[in-house]
């Protein structure tokens, strides 16, 4: 590890962190991390899940206080008791996870904690809404400042978070995976904003799991591993392979999925599926969508945020309200699932987006989380047996390569990638024939991603049909045999592996 020797501290350093250490009950999140960020540069921070990136940024922005170490902002030693102090010192942060008050308006959210007062000290909504309007314009985001944050979709919510940070016009801006919930188009807009900020001389710390992004934007790159500073290097001097190598501390097999998979019988047919959406001008979430899925095939569904990919999968899985029309056939049998349990019984499994909210059971341990959907197999004489359960989950834990101290470790102690593997393992136990994956690698590091890709490929070769959505086109291009494109809830194009390119897909997706 290469901590910076004191003498080389350049005068134009915006941030100097020395020997930062942070412990949480059970884990050392950061261990003696030193880091220097130059004024006006865009400094990318890379690392696996749980490497300590967010923790370091939270310390920089006053959310956490370090157990040891010092922090110097613009040459002045700083110690933040709270986010307020950080803001005063000119540090603003866009957090990894959304932090919006859904019942409040967009404007109220943007100025939360820094409300504008009018005459008599009463709150001045008009001013804040006007200001918010300007900020959103700058982000090229069409959202009414008066709209309630909860009514927005994920992408717009993320943009509101960004507007929140911009409204501080801070000299140092931390972005913790700002694009993890954004699609290419939205990411592009964000990048334009970033360039504008840099022209103003804003220093930006940028965290992302998307390598191409990092290499497009960053001046310098710092790599963290297991809470330790591995190295800081100029982008020009590094290659993505090196960086990922440093991140995971090993070489990642450049797995190739291109030897063709045997294509089996038709498992799933969707014909003229239309899902109404009453209280919305568009009137539908999905309109006249038709597709089919064969055994041993991976079909990718591309689309901008809000295109209706989740709705498509949810409708197939029986989650959506019963109002939809059209036809869904499983093995040629028309089905109308009113509850996920029916879909499970028919051999369908769905790995949902938003792991934390829709996938994890924080109070159950790893075994409990994995075995949940196939507990019947863990019972003897009607009662659950610990031994049987352990035996049951051992398989999927091995197959998916979950790194866990043991089957009875707390799931919350695992890194995001491993949690996701547990959830996939949960569904593999049900031995599904159709696997619906809704953005399975969101916020998961490259190492874990590669392993997941390999896993998905293996499953497919076993004759499983996979319907996959992703907010990352490269991912779709790597994995899918065919790629369908949704735009505004309508099916606008279908490509096979040969004809698909990022450019053509984006064209179709933007309608």
């Amino acid at each position: 590890m290469t901590a910076l020797p004191a003498d080389r501290t350049s005068v134009d350093a915006a941030i100097v962190m020395r020997g930062i250490t942070k412990r949480f009950p059970g884990v050392v999140a950061l261990d003696d991390v030193s880091l220097e960020v130059r004024r006006g540069e865009l400094h990318a921070i890379c690392g696996e899940n749980g490497a300590g990136k967010s923790t370091l940024m939270k310390i920089l922005s006053g959310v956490y206080q370090p157990d040891a170490g010092t922090l110097v902002i613009h040459g002045r030693p700083a110690r933040f008791a709270g986010t307020r102090d950080a803001e005063r010192a000119g540090v603003a942060i866009i957090h990894q996870e959304l932090n919006l008050v859904e019942d409040l308006s967009v404007a109220a959210n943007v100025f939360l904690g820094r409300e504008r007062r009018g005459r008599l000290g009463f709150i001045d909504d008009a001013a804040m809404e006007a200001e918010t309007g300007r900020l959103l314009e700058m982000l090229e985001c069409q959202v009414a400042p008066r709209a309630t944050a909860g009514s927005l979709r994920v992408g717009d919510q993320q943009l509101v978070e960004i507007a929140k940070a911009l409204s501080l016009d801070a000299s140092i801006l931390v972005m913790d995976e700002p694009t993890s919930a954004l699609t290419e188009a939205e990411s592009a807009r964000l990048e334009r904003t970033i360039h504008r900020l840099r022209e103003r001389g804003t220093t930006i710390l940028y965290i992302s799991h998307k390598m191409e992004e990092v290499f497009r934007l960053a001046d310098r790159i710092t790599v963290l591993r297991d809470g330790r500073h591995v190295c800081t290097i100029d982008r020009a001097a590094a290659t993505p392979q090196e960086i990922t190598g440093w991140m995971v501390g090993r070489e990642i097999a450049g797995h190739s999925f291109h030897e063709p998979r045997p294509r089996g019988a038709t498992l799933l047919e969707v014909a003229h599926l239309t899902l109404p959406w009453p209280e919305h001008p568009r009137g539908y979430r999905l309109s006249d969508v038709s597709l089919d899925l064969h055994a041993g095939e991976i079909v990718g569904v591309a689309g901008l945020m809000g295109a209706g990919r989740t709705e498509l999968l949810e409708t197939i899985f029986g989650v959506s309200p019963p109002g939809w029309t059209g036809e869904i056939r499983i093995d040629g049998r028309p089905e109308r699932f009113t509850h996920p349990s029916e879909a499970c019984a028919a051999g369908i499994a769905m790995v949902t987006e938003d792991r934390k909210r829709l996938g994890l059971f924080p109070d159950l341990d790893v075994a409990g989380n994995v075995s949940l959907c196939s507990l019947a197999a863990a019972t003897s004489g009607g009662l659950l047996s610990r031994a049987r359960e352990e035996a049951l989950v051992a398989g999927p834990i091995r197959d998916t390569g979950v790194k866990t101290p043991g089957p009875h470790a707390a799931i919350t102690g695992l890194s995001g990638g491993n949690q996701q593997k547990c959830i996939i393992g949960r569904w593999l136990l049900t031995e599904p024939r159709i696997l619906l994956l809704d953005d399975p690698t969101r916020g998961i590091d490259v190492g874990a991603k590669a392993e997941l890709y390999a896993l998905i490929d293996r499953l497919c070769r076993r004759g499983m049909g996979v319907l996959l959505t992703s907010s990352e086109l490269p991912e779709l291009l790597t994995l899918s045999d065919r790629i369908l494109v949704l735009a505004e809830g309508r099916l606008t194009a279908e490509f096979d592996r040969a004809t698909a390119t990022e450019h053509r897909i984006l064209e179709a997706a933007t309608g």
């Binding site: 959310v63 986010t83 307020r84 008050v101 019942d103 308006s105 939360l112 904690g113 909860g150 209280e279």
Partner: protein, 408 residues
């Protein structure tokens, strides 16, 4: 509030659901005026109005406090006990300052009365502080913290009453009579509590909709994590909310003393905290926090009191037996009503599957039983059967709906 509303919920001055509530109130009054055998609402409007106004004001004062806590994402179960403590503190203080007058039922003088009232409000502040401390520093869930004080404060009040009277009166007493003319004035002039309620409602409305603190209360209730990350001192906001609740309860306690001319901690205002919470919820406050308005809470309070009064007017004898039942049903209906809209849209079924099947006898039995007991067994039986049939039909219809959606 308007600023926070999704357009759908919006409306002129009040939200949709609040207009509905208003309509319900009017309907209830009209219905009572007609059904009531001696049409008291029609012939003695003033008397009835005075009664409803008084009881509404006395409940509303601490219902506002309850609403603030609920909007801030908490809950306060201790209001009833806080009221008992407030009455006792007020009584004890006055007893301590002017024992002779208190025993002799003579006026104790403005200063002493003021002292008593201030002592009560101070007690309210301290209790609110205690709650906040338990919740933020000790990290108890609000439900538990205020559950503990629900039991604790009443007992404290009783102990206080006994020991002060034992020390200052010839005989130990479990309650303290308050006979000062000032309290009598308050008792005789209904407009006083009503005015206080109105003023408090206005202040609370300003606070919640037009001040930064109010915005922070909504934020805290809506998403505590986000509020903290936005640099809001959530602990202080909570502190305010719980003190506001406790002090409004203390204030209400003073009106209890005036209205009942006694501080009787043993069972004064016992269980009234639930009325307050019910009023807030009927008024549209969400127990998950972040949502709620003052107009709603006020309307909710009026609605509750009107219904209770209507019951006692319509059912002439032993109305108190049926009151709870009717209040319960009405609360459910009121809260349901505010969602009927999206229920219809969402294509939700009211009697789904086996649960629906078992719910039918439960509901029919309930309906039939109530009618049987209020009217005659035969009508009750009829009503029960009728209910069962209707529900059965609904169930069948819903089932067919679900089926017809399937392809032939």
């Amino acid at each position: 509030m308007a600023a926070f509303l999704p357009p759908s919920a919006g409306g002129f001055l009040l939200r949709r659901s609040e207009w509905a509530l208003l309509a319900a109130i009017v309907a209830a009054v009209a219905l009572t005026a007609v059904v009531d055998a001696n049409h008291s609402y029609w012939f003695q409007p003033l008397a009835s109005l005075r009664d409803i106004a008084r009881s509404t004001a006395m409940l509303g004062i601490f219902a506002l406090g309850a609403a603030v806590v609920i909007i801030a994402g908490g809950i306060d179960l201790s209001a009833g006990s806080m009221i008992a403590l407030s009455t006792t503190v007020c009584g004890s203080t006055m007893l301590a300052l002017a024992p002779a007058e208190m025993v002799g039922f003579k006026p104790v003088g403005g200063a002493v009365v003021a002292a008593g009232c201030l002592a009560s409000l101070l007690a309210g502040f301290l209790v609110g502080t205690l709650h906040t401390w338990l919740i933020t520093a000790v990290r108890l869930p609000p439900f538990i913290a205020t559950l503990a004080t629900l039991v604790g404060l009443r007992s404290l009040a009783r102990a206080l009453a006994t020991s002060t009277t034992a020390a200052l009166l010839p005989t130990k007493n479990s309650q303290i009579n308050v006979y000062d003319p000032m309290f009598k004035v308050v008792r005789d002039n209904v407009w006083i509590p009503v005015a206080v309620f109105g003023a408090l409602a206005f202040i609370t409305w300003l606070l919640l909709t037009r001040t930064v603190l109010g915005r922070h209360i909504h934020a805290l209730g809506g998403n505590e994590q986000a509020a903290r990350l936005a640099g809001i001192r959530t602990d202080n906001v909570k502190w305010f909310a719980y003190c506001y609740a406790a002090m409004t309860a203390a204030l209400a306690g003073l009106f209890y003393v005036a209205n009942e001319s006694v501080a009787a901690p043993a069972n004064q205002a016992r269980g009234h905290e639930l009325n307050a919470i019910a009023a807030a919820v009927v008024g549209g406050c969400s127990l998950s926090g972040g949502v709620g308005t003052v107009p709603g809470t006020v309307l909710g309070t009026i609605f509750l009191r009107v219904v209770i009064d209507a019951v006692s007017k319509v059912i002439k004898t032993e109305s108190e037996i049926y009151e709870g039942l009717i209040v319960g049903v009405v609360v459910v209906l009121a809260v349901t009503f505010s969602q009927v809209g999206q229920m219809a849209k969402g294509g939700r079924r009211l009697l789904p599957g086996a649960l629906g099947l078992c719910a039918i006898p439960a509901l029919a039995l309930l309906a039939g039983g109530v009618v049987a007991m209020t009217a005659s067994p035969r009508t009750g039986l009829a009503a029960g059967i009728a209910a069962a049939v209707c529900l059965g039909a609904l169930k069948a219809w819903e089932a067919r709906q679900a089926a017809t959606v399937r392809p032939a």
